[in-house]
């Protein structure tokens, strides 16, 4: 049997979920027996592959770029896993929602800038007015809450997903775990 194609994606999040994946330590080797990481911040692939079996998506959808990415990922992925609270609830990135992006940009780039205060508009993607969880844009197959989900959670979840064993997520993790 060929290995499953696994992608991990980093949208608007702190990369803590990815750190937690790495925290599986030596258990990663066992995971690597059954999956191939075809796309990830930790591998050198620039474009999302056409056919991915499992995608773990970290982070909320906060910019036009995030939205474009998540739609593309959905189109090319069999099983989409929302990984961590940002992807599932909006979490910390969504804390700007009540006041809107302009206030945040002003505070970060104008009010607190010591030199040449200006809001970056070239190269960086435009922010959406509201940060939203990924399931508000695309269908999500598995929700793995936690901030971040623990390495044990990842291990149990990935093993189950790779082998098709049923997964009792609330027994493993919760919002904020």
């Amino acid at each position: 049997m060929s290995k499953l194609k696994l992608a991990t994606v980093w949208l608007d999040g702190c990369s803590g979920c990815h750190m937690s994946i790495l925290d599986m330590d030596e258990r990663l080797l066992a995971i690597a027996e059954v999956v191939d990481i075809v796309y990830s911040p930790i591998v050198d692939t620039k474009d999302y592959p056409d056919a991915v079996d499992i995608a773990l998506v970290e982070g909320a959808v906060a910019s036009v770029d995030d939205e474009r990415k998540i739609r593309k990922i959905r189109a090319h992925t069999k099983l989409l896993v929302a990984m961590g609270d940002c992807a599932i609830t909006g979490n910390v990135p969504s804390m700007r929602n009540p006041i809107g992006p302009q206030a945040i940009l002003d505070r970060a780039y104008i009010e607190n800038a010591s030199a040449q205060p200006q809001i970056p508009c070239v190269v960086v993607p435009q922010l959406l007015r509201v940060v939203r969880p990924i399931h508000e844009f695309v269908k999500v197959d598995v929700f793995l809450p936690g901030c971040p989900p623990s390495a044990d959670t990842f291990h149990a979840a990935l093993t189950a997903l790779a082998t098709g064993v049923p997964l009792d997520i609330p027994a493993l993790t919760r919002f904020g775990a």
Binding site: T89, G90, M95, N97, I99, R132, P133
Partner: protein
């Protein structure tokens, strides 16, 4: 079925139980090890039946009753955990999570929050409803405590404990519907209110809405269990 009979027998979740007249379904269920989820209800305070988490089915009636206020009667048949009830409870929890800005990861109550625990117990892995993202404030004017309205579920435990147990009644609810908010005094900052600084409201708050400033991070367990003892001691006096 004489109502004057002091002891009632009834069935809760196919288990025959006995109860004293005037006891609530919730009390009787707990005495018999049957867990009914609650949020606004708290042992030691009056019950308001507001959160609707403890709704139960009564055989022969299509109306659901809140177990915290509904009293038992002879021959009553109660179902506390049907699929339908579980669905409503999950819906209620989703409504709560989407109503205000509950960011568990940065909350002082992360790990010992009743809302979070209920969510996990009911298998809530995500909220399907759109988040409302209301712009709510944090009042840190009090010397010892803070109220963060982003985390409030409007259970009114603080209102009741302050009025019923402390006797100060500085907490109340302002506004209507989705704009309801708990206030201190006549909507004055907590620090300028007639607060007695007893801290009972903080202890009974099920979430991180009310918290003690001296506690940092997630190191803020709460101990609402003092209430029944306090009441018992007072009655003994």
């Amino acid at each position: 079925m004489n109502d004057a009979v002091e002891v009632k027998t009834l069935i809760i979740d196919e288990q025959e139980v006995s109860a004293r007249r005037g006891q609530t379904i919730l009390e009787v269920a707990r005495e018999n090890g049957i867990q009914i989820p609650t949020l606004c209800s708290l042992d030691g305070l009056s019950s308001v039946g507001a959160c609707r988490m403890c709704l139960v089915e009564i055989k022969g009636s299509n109306k659901l009753l809140p177990a915290c206020v509904a009293t038992v009667y002879e021959g009553m048949e109660v179902t506390t955990n049907s699929e339908r009830l579980q669905k409503y409870r999950r819906n209620i929890l989703e409504l709560l999570f989407a109503e205000r800005n509950h960011i568990c990861s940065v909350c002082v109550s992360n790990g010992h929050c009743e809302l979070q625990t209920l969510g996990q117990q009911h298998g809530l892995t995500h909220v399907r409803l759109p988040y409302r993202n209301p712009d709510l404030h944090v009042d840190a004017s009090h010397e010892r405590f803070t109220v963060d309205h982003n985390r409030c579920v409007l259970c009114t435990r603080c209102v009741r404990v302050c009025a019923e147990i402390e006797g100060a009644h500085i907490w109340d609810v302002k506004g209507r519907g989705i704009d309801s908010i708990v206030i201190t005094d006549l909507n004055q900052p907590w620090g300028e209110s007639a607060c007695t600084r007893c801290g009972k409201c903080v202890q009974v708050c099920p979430t991180g809405a009310l918290f003690d400033k001296s506690k940092v991070g997630a190191d803020h367990p709460k101990y609402p269990d003092f209430l029944p003892f306090l009441n018992m001691m007072r009655e003994a006096q």
